[in-house]
């Protein structure tokens, strides 16, 4: 049997499995909005662990990271730093976000910020930032999916059709089973993608070089420029290194799909274990990615699109059945992030816009129906964005992370009590300043002075937030006491409710 038939067939078997899971989840679902949007706030450790890891790592981890090692060399090992930082952020901030969600029934990031800052404007701006920047992420994942299916089928399935098929499947099981379906499929996807990357990289390393250590020796002998900073094209300057670590840690954690995951944990202990252990999965996934990228630079030095190095090597050097299994893992990586973003955007639009300002007193079934219709609309937007343009995956991820990163001053104002309070005017001024700075430093004059544009945005944001907060009215004493009091009790008295 031809390799493309096996590879494409295995991906479709995998897709069928996710559809079945979506329908099983649908049968377990009640007509409760919190069940549909938040898995009833009862996610236990294993499920939460795999959904967080699978959501964090996306098409970018599977395709983009190999491409990055291929082009820029060992500098991409900075990825370990940002994934370890994600663990620490989850431990410290994630547990506080969980405690406030549990106390006050928050469902979205905007719920939390609008409650503390007593501002509808903060709610709307947070919702807009959340949705606008993560729509870029839908595009990244959908493009990754289109790529994978196109490569697996030897271009017999077009990039556009592949994107459409996989978007429809992800949206389908989300519509059917809500966050429960997303979590259950993420469990399979998280396990599958991890095993697939490792197995694929090791098979290639032994097949082509006689093992990982031999591979490293060959890289040192033939491409020593890949083994030091800033890399062959001078990309990993100190400013880019630091900037990527900040943007791809805080910037990803502050995206709504990860904050919503913190709300869904069954207990504070679950969140803290999550923080302490997720870096093990997240960081070690880049070890095989390095083998793929660096090994690829030796055996396929002239590939046209660096992101395709992993699938191209598999087709060239691995058996067909293994290629199929691994590309199904790549599909899992992209779909697990895509479904989570579709879900979070649906949640934000349903909860923060529709339920808040358009139809405020309907029953729960009405909002679930509206949420499902919003998923269909997001699917259409995501598809148009995906097939309309194409950019290098990591650039899009970085832009997306840089946007969500701008919620950081507002989040810290809620989650870290201090004598100097952040105000709603400060938050709005900070976000406005950061959007201007992001445009200037990511689009108009990318990364001035070698420092990542996302960090320039954050600096402008903090400056404006702090300055304006000094001269404007803080939240009322009652609100500060209620919310910061809850944080104080949670952190120092162990009282989540």
């Amino acid at each position: 049997m031809e390799a493309w038939v096996v590879a494409t067939g295995l991906i479709f078997i995998y897709l069928l499995a996710t559809i079945v899971i979506g329908f099983v989840a649908n049968r377990r679902m009640s007509d409760d909005l919190e069940d549909f949007l938040l898995y009833g706030r009862k996610a236990k450790f294993v499920v939460l662990y795999l959904t967080v890891c699978a959501t964090y790592h996306s098409a970018f981890a599977f395709l983009g990271s190999g491409g990055f090692f291929y082009t820029h060399g060992i500098g991409f090992w900075a990825a370990g730093a940002w994934t370890v930082l994600v663990g620490a952020i989850t431990y410290v901030l994630g547990s506080r976000i969980w405690a406030l969600g549990k106390n006050f029934g928050y469902i979205t990031p905007a719920d939390m910020l609008a409650d503390f800052y007593e501002s509808d404007a903060v709610r709307v701006v947070t919702a807009l930032v959340s949705v606008l920047f993560t729509i870029l992420y839908i595009q990244v994942q959908a493009q990754g999916l289109g790529y994978i299916l196109s490569v697996a089928s030897g271009d017999r399935i077009s990039f556009q059709l592949g994107t459409l098929i996989l978007l429809v499947v992800a949206a389908g099981y989300l519509i059917a089973g809500g966050l429960r379906a997303v979590y259950w499929t993420d469990v399979i996807q998280g396990a599958w993608m991890y095993i697939a990357v490792w197995v694929g990289a090791l098979v290639l390393a032994y097949e082509l070089f006689g093992g990982p250590l031999e591979l490293w020796k060959r890289v040192a002998a033939e491409r020593p420029d890949l083994l030091t900073l800033p890399g062959p094209e001078g990309f990993f300057t100190p400013g880019m290194w630091f900037g990527m670590v900040i943007v791809l840690s805080f910037g990803i954690v502050f995206q709504p799909h990860l904050i919503i995951r913190y709300y869904t944990a069954a207990s504070a202990k679950t969140i803290k274990w999550l923080g302490a252990t997720t870096p093990i999965y997240l960081m070690t996934l880049f070890i095989p990615a390095a083998l793929v990228g660096l090994g690829g630079a030796l055996v396929m030095p002239d590939i046209e699109v660096a992101d395709r190095i992993f699938p191209e090597m598999l087709f060239e050097y691995a058996p067909a059945w293994l290629t199929g299994i691994i590309l199904a893992g790549a599909t899992a990586a992209a779909m697990s992030t895509l479904d989570s973003i579709l879900h979070s955007n649906m949640t934000v639009l349903t909860r923060d816009i529709y339920q808040r300002y358009m139809v405020t007193d309907a029953d729960q079934r009405h909002y679930i129906l509206v949420g499902r219709l919003i998923v269909v609309a997001l699917l259409a937007v995501g598809y148009v964005l995906s097939v309309g343009t194409f950019e290098f995956l990591v650039v899009l991820v970085t832009l997306s992370g840089a946007g969500a990163l701008q919620l950081m001053p507002a989040m810290l104002g809620v989650l870290f009590p201090s004598r100097r309070l952040t105000t709603k005017a400060g938050v709005l001024a900070g976000i406005a300043a950061s959007m201007v700075a992001l445009y200037a430093t990511l689009v108009a004059w990318p990364h001035p002075l070698g420092l990542h544009g996302g960090v320039w945005g954050l600096l402008a944001n903090f400056a404006a937030t702090i300055l304006v907060s000094r001269f404007t009215a803080p939240p009322t004493d009652a609100t500060v006491e209620r919310i910061h009091g809850a944080i104080e009790r949670f952190v120092y008295e162990g009282d989540p409710a």
């Binding site: 900075a78 730093a81 370890v84 020796k217 020593p224 083994l227 302490a276 870096p279 960081m283 500060v480």
Partner: protein, 74 residues
């Protein structure tokens, strides 16, 4: 209302130790230290170039601190 005390500085000795150790070790993964101390291939450690091994050891150490903090119920 009695103002809530700042949360930016941990109040327990174990908390200060965990935060200090994590941030101190993390600094070794960032510029300028990583560029000054580790931007080279020699000596090779366990069959991999120095920069790669250096960062790997620090990442494992950072995860160890997080696990220690969890074990201490911080």
């Amino acid at each position: 209302m009695e103002p809530v005390r700042s949360h930016y500085v941990p109040r327990t000795a174990a908390g200060r130790l965990a935060v200090g150790a994590f941030l101190g070790l993390f600094a070794f993964t960032q510029p300028p230290l990583v560029f000054w101390l580790a931007n080279r291939t020699d000596p090779w450690i366990a069959g991999v170039p120095f920069l790669y091994a250096y960062l790997f050891v620090i990442y494992v150490g950072l995860i160890g601190i997080l696990l220690w903090a969890r074990g201490k119920n911080l």
